[in-house]
Amino acid sequence: MIDRVLALRGSVLATWAGFFAWLWFSGERSRYLGPRTYWVVAFGAIALTVAALAHLGALRGRDRRPDRLQVLGAIVMVVPVLLVILVPRPNLGALAAARRSSGGIAAFLPAPDPNGEVSFRELHYAADSPDYAARAGISEGMPIDLTGFVTHDGGIQLTRFYVSCCAADAIPYSVRITWKGGTTKDYPDDTWLHVTGEVVKEAGGYVVYASGGIETIAAPKDPYLY
C-alpha cells in the first residue's frame, strides 16, 4: 500500500530540491539572487532533499489518495520550475530597465567608498552631488572602463542592474555614451558592450566619452553589479 499524498508531495519536494541543487552547482543562482542570499540556495537544496527523503521513507503503510485541490496545489508548486525550463537563462534587459527607475534627484546620498571602483551607480550619484563626486574622486577626464548592455533614452546608453538580494530588487543605472564628434555608432537594445574612455561632465550629468573604443561582448555570467 502506497500513500499517494506523500508520493505526490515527495515528488514536488524532490523537484524543488533538484532545482535548488542545479542553481547551486551550475552557477545559475547568480541570475536570480544576489550574493547576500546565495545561502538560501544551499539551504533549500539540502533541506528539501531531506524533506523529500523523509517522504520517501514514509510512503508505505497508509492508503491515502490526494484530492483535486492537493493535485492542483502540487501543479502550482512546480510552475516556477517549469517556467525555468520554458524560458531558460532569462535576462533583465532594456524593457525592464525602462520599467524600473533609479529615480530623480537624490534626497539623501550614501557616503562614497574612497577605495571603491567608480561605476554606473557612482556616476549617477555624482551627477546629483558635486560633493559626492569630489569625495568619490570623480572628475572630468577620469579614465573609466564600463561593461553593460545597451538601452536608449534619447541617445545610446550603457546600463547595468544593481541587485541586493534577488532580481526582484534590481535597480538599473545608466550612463550615456558619446563618441568622437558627438556622434555614436548605434547598437540595438540589450547588446552587451565593453567601453573604455573617459568621464566627461555635461549639463545632464556625467557621460562617458568612448575614446578607448567600444567592443561587443557576450553577456557576462554574472549579469549584475552589487
Binding site: L6, A51, M77, P80, L92, R99, G104, A106, A107, C166
Partner: protein, 331 residues
C-alpha cells in the same frame, strides 16, 4: 458496501490515465513554448526572472516557518500555549510582539507559525502581533537595516525607527483585528493531517502540509508581483517623490509591488535616494506587513476580510509614523 468495493478499482483505473494525460499536457506545453522561443519576448523574460527569483528566495523561508510550526504542533504540549492564552491580553500582546526578536524568520515563515499559535490557544491578537512584528523586529532584519544605512550616518535612527514603528503597527493591528479566532482563521480546506503515534512521522506530515498550503500562495503572490513589475513603470510613482506624504504613500505602493523579503529590503530602501528618509521608513515598515505576495499568504491562513482590514490600519499608522520620523530625523 459491495458497490463501493467494485467502484473503487474502477476510479483507480481512470485516475491513472488522467494523471498521465496531465503530465503529457504539461510536457507538450513546455515543448511548444520552447519551440516558439517564448524567451525572445522581453516581457516574458522579465516576468520569468522576477517571478522565479521571488519564489526561490521565499520558499526556503516558508520551509523554515513550516518546520517551526510543525515542531510547535508535535513537540510543544497542548497546555503550554493554552496557559499563555489565559494571560491578560494587555500582557500577551506585547510579549508576543517582542517574541519576534527571538525568531529570525521573515514574513513568509511567520504566517504559518502565527496560525499555529492561534489555533493552539494563543490570543488571536497576540498571534497577529507576533506575525507582524517578527519580520521587522528579528535580529537579522535589524542588522541588515543597520548595515544598509551605515553609509548614511543615520543607521541607528533608522533601526530604532523601524523597530519602534513596526512594534506600534503590530500592537495596533493585533489589538484591532484579533478578537475572535474563529472569525479570523480560514478553515482548512485541505484535510488536516491524521493523528500519529510516531512523532517523527507526524513532524514530516505537518511540515509538508504547511509547506504546501503556504507554498502555492507564495507562487501566486510572486506571479502577481512579477506581473506588476513587468507592466507598471516605476517612474509613475517615483515622479511624485518630493513631498513626504506623497513620497511615503508612493513607497508603500512600491513596497507592495516589489514584495521583497524583509531581510533584504533595507538595501533597496537605501538606494531609493529620491525619496525622503521618512518615506524610506514607510517602505521598510509597510513592506514586511503588506505586499502582493503576503496578500496571498494571508488569504491562505486567514479569512478574506483580514487583508483589507490590515491595509486600512497599516496605511494611516505607517504614514503618521513616517511623517513624524521625517520631521525629527529627516532634513
Amino acid at each position: 458496501m459491495g458497490v463501493v468495493a467494485t467502484l473503487e478499482p474502477a476510479l483507480d483505473r481512470r485516475a491513472a490515465p488522467r494523471g498521465l494525460f496531465l503530465i503529457f499536457v504539461v510536457i507538450a506545453a513546455v515543448a511548444l513554448g520552447r519551440a516558439v522561443d517564448l524567451g525572445r519576448f522581453a516581457a516574458v523574460e522579465s516576468f520569468a526572472l522576477v517571478f522565479t527569483s521571488i519564489v526561490v528566495e521565499a520558499l526556503p523561508f516558508v520551509l523554515m516557518g513550516a518546520l517551526v510550526s510543525a515542531v510547535i504542533e508535535v513537540y510543544v504540549p497542548e497546555t503550554t500555549f493554552a496557559r499563555i492564552g489565559s494571560w491578560p491580553v494587555a500582557v500577551q500582546l506585547p510579549v508576543a510582539a517582542l517574541g519576534g526578536f527571538a525568531f529570525p524568520v521573515c514574513e513568509c515563515g511567520s504566517v504559518p507559525v502565527a496560525r499555529r499559535l492561534i489555533s493552539r490557544g494563543l490570543h488571536p491578537g497576540a498571534g497577529i502581533a507576533f506575525m507582524l512584528a517578527s519580520p521587522i523586529l528579528n535580529p537579522i532584519v535589524l542588522t541588515s537595516t543597520l548595515v544598509a544605512y551605515r553609509g548614511r550616518g543615520v543607521a541607528w535612527e533608522m533601526v530604532a525607527g523601524r523597530a519602534g514603528l513596526g512594534l506600534i503597527l503590530a500592537l495596533t493591528a493585533g489589538w484591532a483585528l484579533g478578537h475572535d479566532a474563529e472569525d479570523l482563521l480560514r478553515e482548512r480546506v485541505e484535510p488536516e493531517t491524521q493523528e500519529h503515534t510516531n512523532k517523527r512521522r507526524a513532524l514530516v506530515d505537518h511540515l509538508a502540509s504547511d509547506f504546501f498550503f503556504m507554498g502555492r500562495f507564495v507562487v501566486a503572490g510572486a506571479a502577481l508581483a512579477a506581473t506588476l513589475q513587468t507592466l507598471i513603470p516605476q517612474s509613475l510613482v517615483s515622479g511624485v517623490a518630493r513631498t513626504p506624504i506623497v513620497g511615503s504613500l508612493a513607497l508603500m505602493g512600491i513596497a507592495f509591488v516589489l514584495s521583497l523579503c524583509s531581510e533584504a529590503d533595507a538595501f533597496v530602501a537605501v538606494s531609493l535616494t529620491p525619496f525622503p528618509l521618512g518615506s524610506q521608513l514607510a517602505f521598510l515598515v509597510f513592506g514586511p506587513v503588506v505586499d502582493a505576495k503576503l496578500a496571498f499568504l494571508y488569504s491562505a491562513a486567514f479569512r478574506r476580510k483580514f487583508v483589507g482590514r490590515l491595509v486600512l490600519i497599516a496605511i494611516p499608522v505607517v504614514l503618521a509614523g513616517s511623517l513624524w520620523f521625517e520631521a525629527v530625523v529627516g532634513r
